[in-house]
Symmetry: C2
Subunit: 499 residues, 2 copies
């Protein structure tokens, strides 16, 4: 009963699409779609939900700068503090730390600190809302589970590039349920082999212990890499970690995938079978290229399936005919590949057509922000709520020492986005932990502290000058509780929450 009412509630809150395309009839009829010129496969309802959510979130961050400009103009007025609170409350929905406003009459406003505070507070509200309402939940997880079973897969683990323009890759570009797909981002999508083999080992042991022996079922663990390129200004707007060279990005991704598979095969030999998948995303249009491995698991960099080509070829076809043509195209591209993987690739392409349609409808086919426009940097392990494009630059790392290049690229991006304009790079250091494991919260807190110290040590002049500000956050990912603010370089009211 409880189960039922909970699910009814969540489907009301989240009018989200299926994990598997086409399994649910769209509320908008095919006739209407045709009139509007919308691709018949498009999940119109999901598109509407995604774009409205993205706009509301980004808008909450983008209101910060205009508000601060207003405050600057009135900072020396007698009743500045109360005026400022009124503006902030009206425009941003929260008040500002009294300490930061009060010092203004003798000094200039500390805009860097205020800006960081506003970003951090907006982030907190964004997380709280996301955890409480699951605005991006898919309509039904069981559809995705069914799809996986039909495809002979038991886990999907994707490594996108840490670039913020790929942060929405799971939920929007590929339309997969974020809570069911492992996503760990690395600069250039070049993932850490050991870390990923460890995750694989954990997944496989849990399966074996549950009596689901992979060697008996023949089921596979899918490891994918998502690199990116840009069909608009590809020389500058490709992957920074690979000098905007598309073929380098693809090659590096394939190398990592091969090394991952070989590492597993050398440790766990024959029974250890994984499927690999290399996907490229055009950050201008959100269309994808899928490099499908052949029957030997070899991935060609020269040939791929292009979702935008398939979009165009099937644009005027009815839904079923379009799906059929996509399936045929997949079969032609990789005739020898095992059928389960072909099925999964077909599903990804179909899913992506909705996203192409979204970018066409809302952004005239290509994004206005073809370059970096992230609002903050996220460092650590967690950030599940971030499934929105160009909102956060993500450095997935456990130590700055190992992840130095990830944090360096992030800071370089924010030098040009913010620091050059006198605004700070807001950095959110976050570690999610499993609350049921004793000491896990303390270890997450220690990691936050370690990373913060190492970041300040790495960029001392920026830290001293207020050009970077840091918020420390942990979260028990096994509970429904909000994020826990541990500490911050600006006075956060939430720190009282600390247990």
């Amino acid at each position: 009963m409880l189960q039922r009412s909970k699910s009814a509630q969540s489907s009301k809150l989240n009018r989200a699409p299926l994990g598997r395309p086409g399994a649910r009839a769209s509320v908008v009829s095919a006739v209407v779609e045709k009139q509007r010129g919308i691709h018949a496969i498009t999940d119109v309802q999901d598109n509407a939900q995604l774009i409205s959510y993205e706009r509301s979130v980004k808008d909450s961050f983008d209101r910060i700068e205009p508000v601060l400009r207003q405050l600057v103009a009135i900072q020396f007025e007698i009743d500045f503090a109360s005026q400022a609170q009124e503006i902030a409350d009206r425009e941003l929905g929260f008040e500002l730390p009294f300490d930061l406003l009060n010092a203004a009459w003798t000094n200039q406003l500390d805009i860097k600190a205020l800006y960081a505070y506003c970003v951090f507070e907006t982030y907190r509200r964004f997380c709280d809302h996301s955890i409480a309402t699951s605005p991006l939940a898919m309509h039904s997880d069981s559809d995705f589970d069914e799809l996986l079973e039909e495809c002979g897969l038991h886990a999907v683990d994707l490594t996108p590039c840490a670039d913020g323009r790929l942060a929405h890759v799971i939920r929007s570009v590929l339309r997969l349920p974020p809570n069911k797909v492992r996503r760990k981002s690395y600069a250039g999508a070049v993932f850490d082999i050991d870390d990923n083999v460890q995750k694989w080992t954990e997944v496989e042991l849990l399966r074996e212990r549950a009596g689901l022996s992979t060697s008996i079922s023949g089921s596979r663990y899918l490891k994918g890499v998502v690199y990116h390129f840009s069909t608009i200004d590809g020389q500058c707007e490709g992957c920074a970690a690979h000098g905007s060279k598309d073929d380098q990005a693809a090659l590096a991704g394939r190398d990592a995938l091969y090394a991952f598979r070989e590492a597993i095969e050398h440790t766990h030999c024959c029974g250890a079978s994984v499927d690999l998948l290399l996907i490229g995303v055009d950050t201008a249009t959100d269309s994808i290229r899928v490099h499908v491995p052949d029957e030997n698991g070899d991935i060609s960099l020269d040939s791929h399936l292009s979702s935008i080509e398939l979009f165009e070829q099937t644009q005027n076809e009815p839904r079923d005919r379009a799906r059929e043509q996509i399936q045929q195209a997949v079969a032609r591209e990789c005739p020898t590949t095992r059928s389960g993987l072909k099925r999964f690739v077909g599903a990804l392409i179909e899913n992506n057509l909705s996203q192409i349609e979204l970018v066409k409808a809302e952004f005239d086919g290509t994004y206005a922000d073809i370059g970096h426009a992230e609002r903050f940097i996220g460092v650590g392990v967690g950030f599940e709520e971030i499934q929105i494009r160009n909102l956060m630059y993500f450095a997935y790392l456990k130590t700055i020492e190992e992840g130095a290049s990830d944090i360096d690229v992030g800071l370089k991006i924010f030098k040009s986005l913010n620091i050059s304009r006198g605004l700070p790079a807001p950095i959110i250091v976050r570690f999610d932990y499993h609350g049921s494991i004793p000491g896990a919260r303390e270890r997450a807190m220690n990691r936050c502290q370690q990373i913060t110290e190492a970041t300040i040590k790495r960029f001392p002049q920026h830290a001293d000058g207020g050009s970077i500000h840091i918020l420390k956050v942990v979260r028990d990912c096994q509970s429904e509780s909000p994020i826990e603010i541990i500490d911050s370089s600006v006075p956060m009211t939430g720190i009282e929450r600390k247990a």
Copy 2:
């Protein structure tokens, strides 16, 4: 045939004892033992081998300083370089880098660099010899495998404190085969839960895949912590990481063990059973305390089995009677513990009696070097050859950021041992890798580089002043090949070996 001749050769080279005490008749008869007053359980032959090996290794390091003193005295003589090479070759068995000698007539000899070179070269020769001849190999691995099977164990994983006075704990104090027991040292024996759970996961998956389901066999993974204390000057010579407070050291070890077990049980629930063991070593006598868990796995800090007491109680008994008394003492101490674990604890106590006898015979019952006397610092993952007391301070770590306290304690020790006397702290950064895994060597080399940079950054004044010198080493632990010198802060001849 080949197998046979290889085993004959190794038993000739390595007159080593059994993994399981008493299983092989000692060549020295019980009558002779009695005349000498040697405890009947003692493996006299193993003791002779261990002490002679330890002396020869330490002697090779301890000849360095007197040689350098000779060189200092003659450094401005006309034929200094050739005289120096003659002395070095005669006393140390190798020549010195020409560059370091040649600069001497215009400047003073760079003793710090020469000292570091000599330590590094001696270390290399020590490793080469150890890898080529396995001087500490146990007589037969199969005895240890049998013991484990009888005890219902499938893996033994011990975390000693990183203190160099525990470096011989596996091979000498507990007389276990180093190639069969996992040893990862941490300052204060407080190990990293995640790292250790990962290792456990790997071991268990390999077993499951091999059809050796732990949940069916009921076999356990033994995780032990070895803390230390000192019955001579315990206020100063206990564990530095715990302020020389024995009860703190024991408590911290037990906390880590409990957290390890809980982490596994929360992730892999019911089937995931591990045995825990807390062991204390008296670094003055090498005797042990074993805190045996009860039937619920609870470990008492207040009660333990003391090997030195049992040594004394059984000193005049014949072998069989002594063993019987030890077994009875174990049964009295932990009546409810599962019998397999009792069996293993009994074996450890028996094994340790040989070591107590060794310290009595060779060091009059207590070591002369009751404090730190390490010859160098080892940082990284590997160092399997080091099974000798007070030779190396070991910081097992993958990043300085995470292992900061381990390296800090190490440098503190070497400030008083070496730096205060104008000698450097020689640091060997080493990462062993599995050669069959593609890219593993490159990743090991990158780790060496990362650790070296982070160490220099952490102690810049020491690095600039030549008070720390660093040797970078990797090794394929799946091969019989020697260590590979990657780079060094002093001119090592071995760098040409680099592929």
